[in-house]
């Protein structure tokens, strides 16, 4: 491919303003000395100009309004879901802290202080861990099921 052909292949992109600076310089230099390429470049520029000036279709006002309402409703749902997640995390954290903190108090009140100072896993700790895990797994499953049901109901609505 000679220089003329190479430049000709660049003319469409030149009209689109998509050439590198050095390519633009090459095209400009060639066009000054080649009337055929200058005419071709003018044609591409004309087509590009028409593309830039195509009429812009306008969205109907009712569509814009509906989009706004739909998006704001979704926005409110998202905010509510975030708030519910936050509340759930807080409640779970609070409950765990309360459970763990209250346990030593219960042990203290029932005279089991010495057991607390002994870090070895014994029957009492295993029972405590098993009992708490069971309770929270049950509660967690219930919360997840409830949340899925709410989401399904919202989607149907």
């Amino acid at each position: 491919m000679n220089d003329h052909d190479e430049i000709r292949a660049l003319l469409a992109l030149a009209a689109a303003g998509a050439l590198e600076p050095e390519e633009e310089d090459r095209v400009a230099a060639h066009i000054r000395s080649c009337s055929a390429c200058a005419g071709e470049a003018a044609s591409w520029q004309s087509i590009a100009g028409h593309l830039r000036r195509l009429p812009t279709p306008q969205p109907p006002p009712a569509v814009i309004q509906r989009a706004r309402v739909m998006a704001e409703a979704r926005f409110a749902e998202e905010a509510e879901a975030r708030w519910q997640r936050g509340v759930l995390i807080f409640v779970v954290t609070f409950a765990w802290v309360l459970t763990i903190v209250s346990w030593p108090l219960v042990r203290l009140a029932t005279g089991g202080l010495l057991d607390l100072l002994d870090p070895r896993l014994n029957q009492t700790w295993i029972t405590f861990a098993g009992f708490t895990t069971l309770v929270w797994l049950t509660g967690g499953s219930a919360a997840v099921l409830l949340s899925l049901r709410q989401r399904r109901e919202r989607r149907l609505a």
């Binding site: 992109l13 003018a42 590009a48 593309l51 812009t56 706004r68 979704r74």
Partner: protein, 193 residues
């Protein structure tokens, strides 16, 4: 751009007023882009609404260091392409009917006013280009719309398309060449200079 960034930041913080600002700012550009992609105004209207709902759902995942225009058009593009794949898979490659030009033959008749011939000629060419655009495959229509109507840089188009710069440039060149072929075959002898 700073105003847009501010509205985006407000929306990410949960201020719903910012949503209205963004819709007002982008409504014409976004709708035009969707019309170019799907060609049918009714479909573009549905996609326009879906795009804003998707924006609300995803805005917290938006990286503020990125260009919001490119992100918004990517959201719209993904929805439009999903829609096109779902309802008419062949439309991603196949040229469609010429339904763009609203001009009647009577409207194209020249008047006797001085310089009217040039204006009529110019309008003729514009309607030819518009008609040729609708006949191109969607991947060509979208790259032309993003470059010439949205005036996006090649880098921004690459971000919207999720494609390398070289692909964007070659697609842009092919789309222009195909448009030229279309114009030459539909209107032989027309002078584009």
């Amino acid at each position: 751009m700073a105003v847009v960034d501010s509205d985006v930041a407000r929306l990410r913080r949960g201020e719903v007023d910012a949503l209205s600002e963004l819709i007002s700012r982008y409504q014409n550009r976004l709708y035009r882009y969707l019309v170019r992609l799907v060609r049918q105004p009714a479909e573009a209207e549905d996609l326009f609404q879906q795009t804003w709902v998707r924006v609300v759902e995803r805005i917290r995942a938006f990286d503020p260091s990125r260009n919001f225009d490119a992100w918004l058009f990517t959201v719209a593009r993904n929805l439009a392409f999903d829609h096109l794949r779902r309802i008419r898979p062949e439309s991603l490659d196949e040229p469609g009917p010429n339904d763009f030009s609203a001009e009647t033959p009577a409207e194209r008749l020249p008047s006797n006013a001085p310089g009217a011939f040039d204006r009529v000629l110019e309008r003729e060419r514009a309607s030819h280009v518009a008609a040729a655009l609708t006949d191109l495959p969607v991947i060509y229509r979208e790259v032309l719309a993003l470059r010439f109507e949205e005036e996006m840089k090649i880098e921004e188009i690459a971000e919207v398309l999720g494609a390398p710069l070289s692909t964007v440039k070659s697609r842009l060149r092919r789309s222009l060449e195909q448009m030229r072929q279309c114009l030459d075959s539909r209107y032989p002898g027309a002078d584009w200079q």
